[in-house]
Symmetry: C2
Subunit: 201 residues, 2 copies
């Protein structure tokens, strides 16, 4: 029986990935050169081109890999009839935060400070959006304020992602469950009620 891939290939690819993540954190994606990666991975610059076409190709490969894991984590979340129930927001966020915790180095490099890659944020937002949209119930007839569906969905996704990034950036100041709980309450009941301010009806 033949081995799937040459051990040298696995080793080299692993070195490149590790070097890449480190460098993103150190100097940001744009500033990295192929030579930087080669030096850090202790390989010849040519060897890089044996495995990846160029820098964006490496980035995309890395992103796709982890994002498919993220998708799997989200897909397992049960959705009830109403995707805007408190529970779905809370459950999905908790699942995402826990997945991020397991891969914190990567997510920090991709999303925080100078290192951030806009493309990655957008892709994560897509995953969240798809999940929230999954079981959208179009029969919400009697909305007193005639809220635009698109606007509401955008509202949910961007605040969701904002909290996620805030949480990573601040070194996870609260447990995943606590953040998810608070977020879902604010969204559901409004910030007046959540913050304990009398609601002006």
């Amino acid at each position: 029986m033949s081995r799937k891939t040459d051990l040298r290939i696995l080793r080299t690819k692993q070195s490149i990935r590790t070097a890449f993540y480190e460098l993103i954190q150190e100097k940001g994606y744009e500033a990295i050169t192929i030579q930087d990666i080669a030096d850090r991975a202790i390989i010849n610059r040519n060897t890089f081109y044996l495995h990846y076409q160029n820098k964006p190709d490496l980035l995309n490969t890395c992103m796709d890999e982890l994002l498919s894991e993220l998708k799997n984590a989200v897909i397992l979340c049960p959705i009830h009839m109403n995707p805007f129930s408190i529970s779905i927001l809370e459950i999905v966020m908790q699942a995402i935060l826990e997945h991020i915790s397991s891969n914190i180095t990567f997510y920090y490099a991709m999303l925080i400070e100078e290192n951030r890659i806009y493309q990655f944020r957008t892709k994560v937002e897509s995953i969240i959006k798809d999940k929230l949209n999954e079981g959208w119930n179009p029969v919400q007839g009697n909305s007193p304020l005639a809220i635009s569906k698109e606007l509401l969905l955008e509202f949910l996704v961007s605040s969701f992602m904002g909290i996620v990034i805030w949480w990573i950036k601040n070194d996870r100041p609260l447990p995943a469950g606590e953040v998810s709980f608070q977020f879902s309450r604010i969204v559901a009941y409004g910030h007046f009620k959540a913050a304990g301010i009398a609601v002006e009806e």
Copy 2:
């Protein structure tokens, strides 16, 4: 009386700016070369370096210019005692959306699709954050849910910015006043109530 600046300088700088904005929209910031800008502005490449140090310098100059206008637009908004009143959110958002409308080409280039510059988004978020934080009332003692102040502020800023970007990206599908109104209601009362769903207490 001597003229402030040579007419040639004004003309050249103007050409560079225009070319720069066009190119950001066409191929995105990163892909632009100085030669691209020179060609489009119909100037010698050297002339560019007579006015700007490099590409980031040009970008920063452009950003600072418009962001100071944005700040002025926001600073005029009256804030009441409670910065989380419905009105402050609505008024600030409307002011921002109207300012953006007057400079839509620039904002589109900076925030939308492939052209987006993360740095710019962050700077706009800072302006919003500062405004919301301006008159924060620390005495909101009896919050039933003990919501983190930082989390709540982040929630407001990211959803605010998310709606703004959504609005630009979709070619301003609703009037500025309408978007601001809907946003402030969702935030204040929660998405259940805003969307007309019975609240599960």
